[in-house]
Amino acid sequence: MIPQLVTVRYRRSDGRSLRLPVPVLPVLLLLSPLLLLAALAGLVACLVFEVSAAGALRGAGQLLLALPGTRIEIDDGRTAVLVTVR
């Protein structure tokens, strides 16, 4: 299924941490005009570079559907960043 929630957690060097949950669907709805422009630009790029647009769309869709479960954590002792996709 498509990602529902992306959580970004950032711990600063002073110990304070900031947690930012990003709901994916509402954000996509908000950014839909920009996404439409990006999709059109992608379509033009596919035509220019002779790449199958349907294949590119299918690949991008599969990439998106495979994102849930991704977890990236970087901690250098003082600062830390954690990104999870659910």
């Binding site: 570079f49 790449v51 590119a56 990439l63 559907l65 954590e73 901690d75 250098d76 002792g77």
Partner: protein, 141 residues
């Protein structure tokens, strides 16, 4: 041959039970016994879903640095499928650049099916690098 099965066969030899009854008893005994579980059999039953990369670096300063990445294997497969869309002229240019850098690798020989098979076999991959100052682990779970 286990003890219970031997007893059933002895009863059959002494004509205490018929051949049909012996067969049913042996079948029931085999059904009751738990299957032996080996590490390989257990691992093959549950296919790994994620690729984990863990890096712990103690070389710089007091606090160790840590990188912990978990990527779904489906993401790798999707990436491989996207890579198959690279147009041939781009592949040729990449090959030329690799050749110039001294890397004798031909991307045209790399097939998406081979990469898919490679990803399927990643479940058995474990990389463990253990140094005094750092540790790197790559495995699937």
């Amino acid at each position: 041959m286990n003890e219970q099965r031997r007893q059933v066969l002895e009863m059959l030899a002494e004509s205490k039970i018929t051949a049909d009854e012996a067969e049913r008893l042996i079948y029931a005994l085999e059904a009751d016994q738990p299957e032996p579980s080996t590490g390989v059999a257990d691992r093959s039953k549950s296919r790994p879903k994620y690729l984990r990369v863990v890096v712990i670096d103690n070389s710089a300063g007091e606090e160790p640095s840590r990188v912990n990445v978990r990527i779904p294997l489906q993401l790798l497969r999707a990436g491989v499928r996207l890579a198959s869309l690279i147009p041939p002229q781009a592949v040729t240019k990449i090959n030329e650049k690799l050749d110039e850098s001294g890397v004798p690798f031909d991307l045209t020989e790399l097939k998406p099916q081979q990469l898919e098979e490679l990803i399927d076999q990643l479940g058995d991959l474990t990389v463990d690098v253990d140094e005094p100052d750092s540790k790197v682990q790559v495995f699937c779970e």
